[in-house]
């Protein structure tokens, strides 16, 4: 999964980048499922590798992006990227090395007598009781995004 993540950055062809991103997201979904978050894993596949990546590929095809000409990479940008990446990895290793709780292995789930663990049911119950206001806000946000996208992609006929 990480290899394909690197592929997104390294590939010069945007379509190959997007396909690497799809594989990376599928790997991420499998990690979600290995963490017993089945609902989120499925949502990750449906939304990201389904909707979002189709949108990306659609735009890449629409703009008809060819493989980038090998224009000289900005040396400062590459150096800056390498420095930032090294700093982040160093910090990460240091923090994780001094985080004793991180050695914990997956604790077993405690499910009341013999029932299967249903995370979708639990999430849905929580979503429509405690978080019902947030759901409405998200709905408004999606509506606003839809209207905004339509307004943005309209040809400027009035000018």
């Amino acid at each position: 999964m990480l290899l394909f993540g690197v592929g997104v950055v390294v590939n010069r062809n945007p379509v190959a980048s997007a396909l690497c991103l799809v594989v990376s997201f599928v790997g991420l979904a499998s990690l979600f499922i290995s963490l017993d978050a089945h609902f989120l894993g499925i949502i990750q596949i449906l939304v990201y590798t389904g909707a979002v990546m189709v949108l990306f590929l659609f735009i890449i095809m629409l703009l008809d992006l060819k493989e980038e000409a090998r224009r000289a990479l900005n040396a400062w940008a590459v150096a800056g990227g390498a420095v930032v990446a090294l700093c982040l990895v160093g910090t990460l290793l240091h923090v994780l090395g001094t985080f004793p709780k991180g050695e914990a292995t997956l604790p077993p789930l405690v499910v009341p007598d013999g029932q299967a663990y249903e995370d979708t049911k639990a999430l849905g119950t929580l979503l429509f009781t405690e978080y019902v206001f947030h759901v409405q806000v998200i709905g408004l946000l999606l509506l606003g995004a839809t209207v905004g996208v339509v307004a943005l992609s309209k040809k400027e006929a009035s000018k």
């Binding site: 980048s17 989120l40 390498a82 985080f99 292995t105 905004g148 943005l152």
Partner: protein, 105 residues
Amino acid sequence: MGTLNGYLLVSGLLFTIGLTGVIVRRNIIIIFMCLELMLSAANLTLVAFSRFGLVNGLPNHHGQLLVFFTITVAAAEVAVGLAIIVALYRAKQTVHVEDLKSLGG
């Protein structure tokens, strides 16, 4: 793998890859994809902590709901961002950030 540190390490590396891509690449669509990568890395951290921080023997569902909301917002963000990129391409015929200097003053 299997330990909390393993998941956090994967998540951190994914975030690093995304950030490096945002800094190094000059194609605005690839920069956008790297942003998605970083968002997903944060999601993985949330799910990992929710699974390892059990509440009454079950994963912390509040954390997973936060991931759900994040995915929703990310989807909306992708739609708006790609619309902006298309509008930009119509105006300037380029997706290279170095060719876009009109805001630079």
